[in-house]
Chain length 130, copies 2
């Protein structure tokens, strides 16, 4: 794990914000499978601009899955925060993540309804876009 | 308005993300009163870590209110997104904002239930903390 990621996780673990977190501090939060293995980290969060509800947590995996720089959106409803781990747990395996929709670019990436529906369908959740 | 703020607003107005926005891109979004006067900008957003719901939008006013560097949390429920303005509208006047709870520090600031309740009570909204 890079030093800055370790530092970020330590900051999150020791902060005093209780149940709240600054939205841009979610970056670097670890995502684990149900066995407690780290699958990756949250790179950024997409909010509904009006309601303020987080709709997707976009994970980056670094070299972990051999995918290089890639952004894998997960429907927020799939994430469960685990206080002990200081991160999110998802009921997913590596294969499911590997084959999931992802995109290369972050900045300027077009979040269309079609892309959103593809994600939601892949994970079998009620779609934000319907 | 500083150049970087103008640029950010232009980016937000022209982005292709439809109803979604990256949480850290909310920074710099303008907040207006009902007359369309700009009151300040959103500096950061506090999310409920578990639900992913934005609870507070923290405004900074720069020199506008003569307060220097200060962070004024607004309950998210008070914000209405206005597509035409490309920003949020609040039914507040300067005096109400000036006298509202605020804090100096962003990093490491302790978001306690007591502070949250003070904010929610000031604005007369149902408290997140109850």
């Amino acid at each position: 794990m890079p030093d800055d990621a370790s530092k970020r996780i330590a900051e999150i673990a020791t902060d005093t914000s209780g149940p709240l977190i600054a939205a841009d501090r979610v970056t670097g939060t670890s995502v684990y499978n149900r066995d407690g293995d780290q699958l990756g980290t949250v790179d950024y969060v997409m909010l509904d601009r009006t309601s303020g509800q987080a709709i997707y947590a976009i994970m980056s995996f670094g070299g972990f899955l051999g995918l290089g720089e890639s952004y894998h959106p997960l429907p927020w409803s799939m994430l469960t925060y685990n206080i002990r781990l200081g991160g999110y747990v998802v009921a997913l395996d590596r294969k499911t993540l590997k084959e999931a929709p992802w995109h290369h670019e972050r900045t300027g990436f077009a979040w269309t309804a079609a892309y959103g529906r593809t994600i939601d369908k892949y994970y079998g959740v009620a779609s934000y876009w319907d």
